[in-house]
């Protein structure tokens, strides 16, 4: 028997009873950055493959979704900061050992790339937006510049998209103190998730049956890869250190079992996988729109659970009987 009890008060907010410093803002940020990464990669690949006319939504309309997505992600990240007045310090230094520092700088390049890819497709994808922009000389210059150099930007976009998607997974895997997320497989898992999210957005947004079919195949592949990587991640944790084994037990009989399997794995991974398999076998039906919607839901839930369970898992678990409400009674 081993029991460790706090005999003095320790009720540090967002640390006790377990670490909860990263909330919905970080979860939403990682989800939206993943979507942006996927949008960046797909748009870039379509441009590099010279298939803009064949896959018009991906080439011309998806980048704006990515741009809005990254804008929201940055907003949520800013909202998470508890000392916002010095937020600019992220760009005052580069700390090579800090994954978040890498992310802060890389995201600026990602924003530039997705902005340029948005501009290159604005005239044909969103003529209603391009028109007002072209009333200004600088707007016309920007559109012309983006269209002229779109292949070069696309090359950069593929690389940046992969790196930034990896970054979202590496954020968790770099934290050894949070065993559940501390797996090297987090990076490719989050990349596959980002690709699946962007593919789902294309399937929902496009009016082209050919484009929808292509991204159905991509979604199926990405989802299958996600399932495989998730299984391998759980297996590696189950064969890891004591704290990793304890962390994975939270989803195998522990407090997060129901949430993990009934609200994530089944609806967010397996159901869309089955639906896409049926679609690829030729079945067509209106209700199949549920698949990309559930894929997007599953991508968000993946980040929710990795962040939440990752923070709950840890090396120290003291029995803490202190009731913070007592402090209010004393005041």
């Amino acid at each position: 028997m081993r029991e460790e009890i706090l005999t003095t008060v320790r009720a540090n907010p967002k640390v006790d009873p377990h670490v909860a410093t990263w909330g919905w803002q970080v979860i939403a940020d990682l989800f939206l950055v993943g979507l942006t990464a996927g949008a960046l990669i797909f748009t870039a690949l379509v441009i590099l493959g010279r298939r803009e006319d064949q896959y018009g939504f991906t080439a011309r309309r998806l980048p704006l979704v990515g741009l809005i997505s990254i804008g929201l992600a940055m907003t949520f990240l800013f909202l998470k900061l508890t000392h916002k007045i010095v937020f600019w310090r992220f760009f005052g230094d580069f700390v090579p050992t800090a994954v978040m520092s890498w992310g802060a700088w890389l995201l600026q390049l990602v924003i530039a790339a997705i902005l340029l890819l948005t501009l290159q497709g604005l005239r044909s994808g969103y003529p209603g937006l391009a028109g007002p922009l072209e009333k200004f000389r600088i707007g016309t210059l920007a559109l012309n510049f983006a269209e002229r150099y779109r292949r070069a930007v696309a090359w950069a976009g593929v690389v940046l998209g992969v790196i930034i998607a990896f970054y979202t997974g590496t954020m968790m895997s770099s934290l050894d103190a949070r065993p559940f997320g501390s797996s090297g497989l987090m990076a490719p898992l989050f990349l596959a998730s980002g690709l699946a999210t962007a593919a789902a957005v294309v399937m929902i947004g496009t009016r082209s049956a050919e484009e929808r079919l292509l991204f159905s195949r991509i979604l199926f592949g990405a989802m299958a890869f996600k399932v495989l990587l998730l299984a391998l991640t759980l297996a590696s944790l189950a064969n890891g250190s004591r704290v990793q084994i304890e962390s994975v037990q939270m989803v195998f009989g522990g407090d997060y079992t129901r949430l993990f399997w009934l609200f994530f794995v089944i609806p967010g991974l397996l159901v869309p996988l089955v639906i896409e398999a049926l679609r690829l076998r030729g079945k067509r039906s209106g209700w199949m729109i549920a698949s990309p919607v559930l894929a997007i839901y599953g991508a968000y839930m993946l980040r929710q659970l990795v962040i939440e369970i990752g923070q709950v898992s840890g090396y120290v678990h003291y029995v803490n009987t202190y009731n913070p409400a007592l402090l209010d009674l004393l005041r």
Partner: protein
Amino acid sequence: MIRYAMVIDTKLCIGCGDCVVACKTENKVPAGLNRDWVVEATTGTYPDLKTEFRSERCNHCTKPTCLYACPTGATYRWAGTNIVLVDPDKCTGCGACIAACPYDARFVMPEGYVSKCTFCHHRVDKGLDPACVSSCPTRCMHFGVLNDPNSKVSKLLASRPHKALLTETGNEPQVYYLI
């Protein structure tokens, strides 16, 4: 690097909590927040039980994952020592260090920046011991420079069995417990 260490004799610690009160008083830690705490650890099977009191805090590791995780350089080592501090003017409150610390030693101040035990570096700078060490009624807490083989802490560690917490993380904590 000058390596400061704290050595706590678990055979003498009675879990009175004076160290916790001294820390809050010395460092004006806001109500509801704690830089240090006392843990009562019971092991064994009844009736063969052992109890150990541990006064815990930031371990001022020589390989601090919190410092490595900080994206703004707000977490830094003080004056060429292993004492890890946080610069409030650089800390954005992103929480990376809180997530990176295996000891859950950090917390967010009401002003928004992260704080934790500082080994009372302002007292160390004047040649004094941290407040918790000075206040201990059983004198079970010791503080000093481990680089000096003649320091009290070096001699204690050389002469008594001891342990540190969570050494498997690779952080190399510098708070030791005599067992």
